[in-house]
């Protein structure tokens, strides 16, 4: 098997240890889930004690939090944002809308399963998840990063065609201006046909 970046050397272990306590989060607040984030960020639950901070730009962010339903139109923006983010990156599906469509399960406009379009690190179940659940999820993520198991982002390079096909099925072809095969080469993850 080809050597990937997650086959861990001693340096990688140091790196993940540093990385897991400095996570910057881009929250893409589409649905109602954003209302649970202010208590999570501010004094009562205080996300920053885990080293997680809100970030305003995709290129500096590590976590992409999708807080609610995604219509086809917003999914296009999410894909653009996701491809702009620097790897390693972690997508968190927040609430039942990202898992199976939630209460919009029979809507013509919203997607039903986020992990068909971008790889999702983990889902937070609930409608909506309480701040306790968000903290629980993030501590789990921190542990996984420390163990080198949080590697969902590699799946986008490995199965780019799968994701691309699903994306094109719902909104057609877009030019995201991101060279995924080139990025995959940089991370030494397989050969990707564009």
């Amino acid at each position: 098997m080809e050597k990937t970046i997650t086959q861990r050397s001693a340096w990688d272990k140091v790196l993940t240890k540093l990385q897991k306590r400095s996570l910057w989060m881009l929250h893409y607040c589409t649905g109602c889930g954003a209302v649970e984030l202010p208590p999570t960020m501010t004094a009562r639950f205080d996300m920053e004690r885990f080293g997680i901070m809100p970030m305003v730009t995709p290129r500096q962010a590590d976590i992409l939090l999708i807080t609610g339903y995604l219509s086809v139109k917003t999914l296009k923006r999410v894909v653009l944002i996701y491809e702009q983010m620097q790897s390693p990156k972690y997508v968190v599906g927040f609430g039942s809308c990202t898992i199976n469509g939630g209460m919009y399960w029979n809507s013509y406009a919203t997607i039903k399963s986020l992990d068909q379009y971008i790889p999702v690190e983990f889902y937070l179940a609930g409608c909506m998840p309480r701040p306790e659940a968000i903290i629980e999820g993030f501590t789990e993520l921190i542990d996984r990063i420390g163990e080198g198991k949080a590697n969902s982002w590699e799946d986008y390079y490995k199965n780019y065609e799968f994701y691309r096909k699903n994306q094109e099925h719902v909104f057609g072809t877009i030019d995201t201006r991101t060279d995924i095969p080139d990025d995959a080469k940089y991370f030494k993850i397989g050969e990707v046909e564009k």
């Binding site: 086809v72 139109k73 296009k76 898992i99 199976n100 469509g101 399960w105 029979n106 809507s107 013509y108 406009a109 997607i111 039903k112 399963s113 068909q116 790889p119 690190e121 983990f122 996984r144 198991k149 949080a150 590697n151 969902s152 590699e154 799946d155 490995k158 199965n159 799968f162 699903n166 099925h169 719902v170 909104f171 057609g172 397989g190």
Partner: protein, 206 residues
């Protein structure tokens, strides 16, 4: 009161005193009579205080709208709504006109056939109608003659039929178009120990 502040800053001489706008049904009767005199339409009536409603033929609507706009002083087209009467094979368009002078809402209802659904635009009178008509065109497929821009508005990547029509079954469309997650009773076993990929060979095996 908000209305008082609004009137205090309005230089329009047609604006009446707010006390005239509340209470007596005199103004409503005046408006109904004005509509009757100008268009010969006697079907407009008072449904509730300051709410006037009535049907109008689709080819007479633009005449009525220009009367309402110019003579009775309804400066605000509050909304155009569309109702799909599937059994009767008709669309019903409801035009809501609001007067800041009289504090009155006039709802003009008109019916058009579903198959050849087309209406003359009222965007020459009220510019916001451009967006209302574009939206109705997108959601119901009604063509507004004279509207210069009936391009896609909200559903920018949509290529299906107009989705708010009653004969469009959203559930079937969603099932054909989107991937639905299978119920996996042992999901917590699957996700243990790292990312679970079900994409075949390329998946990570941690």
């Amino acid at each position: 009161m908000i209305a008082d502040n609004y009137l205090a800053h309005t230089a329009d001489p047609r604006v009446r005193k707010p006390e005239a706008a509340t209470g007596s049904p005199r103004i409503e009767e005046e408006i109904i009579k004005a509509i009757q005199d100008a268009t010969g339409n006697e079907s407009f009536s008072l449904k509730a205080p300051r709410r006037i409603e009535g049907p109008v033929d689709s080819d007479r609507l633009h005449t009525l709208a220009s009367l309402i706009w110019s003579r009775v002083g309804f400066q605000h087209l509050s909304a155009i709504s569309c109702v799909d009467w599937l059994a009767e094979d008709e669309f019903e368009l409801v035009y809501h006109f609001w007067s800041y002078r009289d504090f009155c809402l006039v709802s003009a209802k008109t019916r058009i056939p579903r198959e050849t659904a087309s209406m003359p635009t009222v965007s020459d009178l009220w510019q916001p109608a451009l967006f209302f008509e574009r939206d109705i065109h997108e959601m119901f497929g009604v063509v507004f003659e004279g509207n210069p821009d009936l391009e896609k508005y909200i559903l920018s990547d949509w290529d299906g039929p107009p989705p708010m029509r009653k004969d469009f079954i959203t559930r079937e469309f969603a099932h054909d178009h989107f991937h639905f997650r299978d119920y996996e009773p042992d999901w917590d076993e699957l996700v243990k120990g790292g990312y679970h990929s079900n994409r075949g060979e390329g998946g990570t095996d941690v």
